[in-house]
């Protein structure tokens, strides 16, 4: 239940509608007038040769089916962009080809050489040398500094968007720079430069209304270093992604599980609180409703980490949800009728299709929620545990977990989590930790 939906910025040619065009044009016009500063002009003039339009060409139709932006990071012809820009070509190299179009109108083939799926980065390489190389900033700029995003919004040609650097977002595990400025579809993979012309981030997504996000330049630096150390392109992109996903979840869950989870009261129960920088929480209740026959208070937490795997498949998200219910004016049978309806209505936190995922497989058991590990007493709960396996990336699963007390006729406590892209070992450890923290004694 995120407050905003991040939108990828690659532009699909087929989705280029007139309505979007007019809307964006009207909104962008006054901004462009207001921001005509000398530094923007200079940056544009100095760097336009190093910033390219990246095109994904459908080999069957021979025309572009998606576009994004990219920039030269090494004069040997190495170009950085977003993974989501080149994803189709990475998945089906037989069906798609990657090309660049320079500001001078030069058109050439590109080869995918490495990816960082966690940070949505990709490195592509041209056959010939490319200039100028855009320098990567060594130090993070201070918050409030004006910075300039460059790219090809909506296939309109190279565009400069001025904005403000707002530091690394503290509420997501995978660091993202908060850029206050309008990123638009097609600018994905383009650079954001400081006034000195150094790259401070890679354009990646927007939440609308000038809230946009960049991949910090450190992640790009890391990927370039890995590529240089290896000295050649990655042979098997799918395997590279699988390793990155597996390593990332291992690192993330090791850190998460080692934490002492803070708790909070919800009704008579105790639930896990916000875990910075992993998950953010919101809460609500029906107490404002005069017609409510029962009491329901809930707390919902969600991570802002979304790993883009393809247009219909993402991973990495964690959700927690807790409900405290009291029968109030309902009798036990009515209360359980409502409770059953609530209990049957839980769904995963990430999306996916049959191409990438197996069906969920579930088990349910009555489990004693021990008040502590030594005790043999505790509340009787019904626990549902569902897992679905990733088809392309072995050892990774999506999890839906649900636990509800079934031994009190006037009140109930439900706790729920979903995980995406987690190993069997980490999922089991997470379930144990979660059940130990969130309980009603």
């Amino acid at each position: 239940m995120s407050i905003y939906n991040e939108t990828g910025l690659s532009l699909c040619a087929r989705g280029f509608s007139r309505a979007v065009f007019i809307l964006t044009f009207c909104l962008a016009w006054p901004l462009a007038v207001a921001a005509q500063s000398d530094s923007a002009r200079a940056l544009f003039a100095d760097n336009k040769a190093g910033i390219l339009q990246i095109r994904i060409i459908d080999l069957t139709s021979g025309s572009k089916s998606a576009i994004g932006s990219g920039f030269v990071v090494s004069d040997s012809g190495l170009i950085a962009t977003n993974y989501h820009v080149v994803q189709m070509a990475a998945e089906k190299p037989d069906q798609y080809r990657i090309e660049y179009l320079s500001a001078e109108g030069e058109l050439n083939h590109l080869k995918l050489v490495d990816v960082d799926v966690i940070n949505d980065l990709a490195l592509v390489k041209a056959d010939s040398e490319m200039t100028p190389e855009l320098p990567l900033a060594v130090a993070e700029p201070p918050i409030g500094m004006p910075v300039y995003a460059l790219g090809n919004p909506l296939d309109l040609g190279l565009t400069v968007v001025p904005g403000t650097y707002n530091g690394v977002n503290q509420t997501s595990y995978h660091p993202r720079v908060h850029f206050t400025g309008s990123l638009n579809p097609g600018m994905s993979g383009g650079p954001t430069l400081n006034q000195a012309g150094e790259v401070v981030g890679v354009n990646v997504s927007t939440a609308g209304n000038q809230i946009s996000f960049l991949v910090p330049v450190a992640a790009l630096q890391q990927l370039i270093t890995e590529y240089r150390v290896r000295g050649h392109e990655v042979d098997d992109i799918r395997q590279r992604i699988a390793q990155q996903l597996l390593a990332d979840q291992d690192k993330k869950f090791t850190r998460l599980l080692a934490l002492d989870w803070p708790t909070l009261a919800l009704g008579e129960a105790v639930v896990a609180n916000e875990l910075k920088p992993f998950i953010k929480c919101w809460g609500g209740s029906n107490s404002a409703s005069t017609k409510a026959q029962f009491l329901s208070a809930d707390r919902t937490c969600r991570s802002e980490d979304n790993i883009y795997l393809n247009a219909k498949f993402n991973s990495g998200v964690i959700e927690h949800q807790f409900f405290w219910l009291q029968a109030d004016q309902l009798n036990t049978v009515q209360f359980y009728a409502y409770y059953e309806r609530l209990f049957s209505d839980f769904a995963p936190g990430n999306k996916g299709t049959e191409k990438d995922l197996g069906d969920y497989q579930c088990d349910n058991q009555f489990v004693r929620a021990e008040s502590d590990l030594q005790s043999n007493r505790g509340r009787t709960t019904k626990v549902v545990f569902c897992a679905r396996a990733y088809k392309e990336y072995p050892e990774l699963y999506d999890i839906v977990f649900l636990q509800g007390t079934v031994d009190d006729s006037q009140a109930a406590f439900v706790s729920h989590f979903t995980l995406a892209g987690v190993s069997q070992k980490n999922a089991k450890a997470y379930a144990r930790k979660f059940m130990g923290v969130s309980k009603w004694q």
């Binding site: 009515q334 197996g358 897992a387």
Partner: protein, 321 residues
């Protein structure tokens, strides 16, 4: 030799007969005839039958609408004389008549089955009324039990009336069928039968629900409920047939089972397209029962976590499909 003139109704069933002794029979609307038929399309003196060696010779007495021979006649070559044999059928006006000798064989008497006798005893208000009240109370009670917003009669009255109306319609259907086929309505018997099977199903469904909840298995209910529904539907249909038709027990059972099978085949093939379809949502057993209906013991958290390996193994197998 006496002549039997049988008046036939819907489906060729006898509506009554005339017996005439003597060598000839006259049929018409006029009261001077041996067989008087009240039908405006029949002439006052319509036809005459004269006994011959081979049967009855038919003579049309210049009637307005004539006589149509439907069955069992022969025409003598020499003339246009029509001879009717035993069992012949003719149409006079809008009436169908069957002409028989008094020695015409009849079917052996059917055995009156105990089931029919017993079911017939249900045809009493003292049986129907309690059943009706119980099922009405159950209907209202289950709506009330599953309602978690403020109870208002106006929101539920149509649901309640609707389900009662369906039962009433079904009972009426069988009763009308019985009126046609057996000249016996048995309305309250049919109504009581449907109500009691409904009550039994509701009770067993609830028991199966409690059982599968305690076994933590949706499979129990998924197998047992359709089986139960099949069994009860076959029993009910067979009893409906017994009261409303003249079918023999064997025919009855086969028809009831055949109908239920047909319904099952249709519903299975309707769902066939959904089988094996990928769903992005987990399909888990979400049933809950009130605490006093929870008997099974809970396992420890450790045992539960250890048991999860099987879920991952199943998920792996599913992804390979």
């Amino acid at each position: 030799m006496a002549v039997i003139v049988e008046v036939l109704g819907w489906g060729g069933r006898s509506q009554g007969h005339f017996r005439v002794d003597g060598p000839s029979v006259t049929i018409g609307r006029g009261y001077q005839n041996d067989v008087v038929l009240d039908d405006p399309y029949i002439s006052a003196n319509h036809l005459r039958l004269d006994a011959t060696e081979n049967g009855w010779q038919l003579t049309d007495l210049q009637s307005r609408n004539g006589v149509q021979v439907l069955k069992n006649s022969k025409t003598e070559n020499s003339s246009s004389t029509v001879i009717l044999e035993d069992g012949a059928e003719i149409k006079v006006g809008r009436r169908r008549l069957r002409i028989l000798t008094d020695g015409h064989p009849v079917e052996p008497a059917k055995e009156l089955h105990r089931l029919e006798q017993d079911l017939g005893r249900l045809n009493r208000l003292s049986i129907w009324l309690p059943l009706f009240l119980i099922s009405l109370a159950l209907d209202i009670g289950s709506l009330y039990a599953s309602s978690f917003v403020e109870w208002q009669w106006k929101n539920h009255i149509f649901t309640i009336l609707g389900s009662q109306a369906v039962v009433l319609m079904v009972a009426l259907f069988w009763s009308l069928l019985g009126r046609f086929l057996r000249h016996e309505r048995q309305f309250l018997s049919q109504y009581s039968l449907i109500l009691s099977v409904g009550l039994i199903y509701t009770l067993l469904e609830w028991l199966i629900g409690v059982l599968s909840y305690n076994l933590s298995s949706s499979g129990v209910a998924m197998i047992m409920l359709p089986l139960l529904a099949m069994l009860l539907a076959t029993l009910l249909l067979s009893a409906n047939f017994a009261l409303a038709t003249n079918m023999l027990p064997r025919q009855r059972w086969i028809s009831a089972l055949g109908f239920v099978m047909l319904v099952i085949v249709v519903s299975i093939s309707a769902r066939m397209s959904e089988w094996g379809e990928f769903s992005p949502y987990p399909d888990y057993f979400a049933d809950l029962q009130v605490p006093i209906l929870q008997f099974s013991t809970a396992e420890s958290t450790d045992d539960f976590i250890d048991s999860l390996d099987a879920v991952f193994a199943a998920a792996d197998r599913k992804a390979l499909d």
